[in-house]
Subunit: 194 residues, 2 copies
Amino acid sequence: MTGRAEEAKERKPRADAQRNRESLLKAAKAAFTRRGAEINLDDLAKEAGVGVGTLYRHFPTRDALIEAVYRAGVKELADMAAQLSAARPPIEALREWMKIFVDYIATKHLIAPALNSMVGGPSQLYAESGTQIKTAIESLVARAVASGDIRPDLDPFDLLRALVGVANVAASPDWEASAKRLVDILVAGSRPVE
Amino acid sequence: MTGRAEEAKERKPRADAQRNRESLLKAAKAAFTRRGAEINLDDLAKEAGVGVGTLYRHFPTRDALIEAVYRAGVKELADMAAQLSAARPPIEALREWMKIFVDYIATKHLIAPALNSMVGGPSQLYAESGTQIKTAIESLVARAVASGDIRPDLDPFDLLRALVGVANVAASPDWEASAKRLVDILVAGSRPVE
DNA sequence: CTAATATACGGAGGATTCCTCCGTTTACAA
DNA sequence: TTGTAAACGGAGGAATCCTCCGTATATTAG
């Protein structure tokens, strides 16, 4: 018979759909970073080079779009950690990753309240992303400890908290540059005492 | 002549205007805390028991309203510090104030991105409020140091950063309770070594 | 390669929300 | 009490959101 595996006949997603989705995410991330969560969605569609209909098909609500950008950021961070670990000396991998994390915070901050106000979902969202990020920095720090570049008693989470805390306290235009300088200071301060 | 002091003939503000303004601020603070910065302003006016026209006269833009809520919060914090200093033992005044600060962050966080996206103004806004808050916690800590309850080498700003950082990292429903427990831990950890 | 068709596309326009404008009301000074 | 500056409310034009559907295109079977 020809009828085998009938219940699993999924097509693979169309290439143009995939392209448009990515184009929208990219434009949304840029727009959120620049102007916060209250961007004009009709304009966003235009910037991404698609129709509004396409935007709303991929992301039915503003919140869905925000969430997607957020998730993409977290995933990118996790992937980047693995990639840097493979390609760079431990201490440099950690340093680079922390700087990328600063970029991530820049978008996350602007959309955090929107995430918070989503009923039902946010805590799970945060829990999941928290785990991913925690795993990422833990493995980066572990490698740097193993190579002797970082003190063994350093809590990886302290680094995260320091970054996030500074991001909040200093809201000057110079914010990002200053946070990145702080990364260097933190890394230097985390070296073993001689 | 009767013409003296002519250039300073300001009426005092009408009582109803004052009342409506406060009613709007109160409703706005509640709404921001509950649902973030994207509240429906027509509804907000209704909740405050005034017409939309009144709302827009007092706060011409959404941002103006957000800023007013923010400023009111900062002022309240500064006043509260003085009040607690007068009424309570140093260490308890500090502890209480930090817990009130946590409440304050709960609103501030929801509107922070909106504050950030105001062009031109935000850094000045933050700078001013930063000074007020810094002064408040500095004097609270100074008193507690003088009374011997807190280590002299403690940087008051570390306490603020810790609070703000935790507020970001932990976004669970339990968030506020957890932040307040942290206050107790911070205070305990700031005591002098024996 | 061609045809068949599921899938995605764009954007017009109805629904919603924002905010201006002005005729009416009210608090204050004399 | 009366005059008047100040404030009030809310109708409705402007701006934004988002649904709906006729058209276009990628994919697959033959």
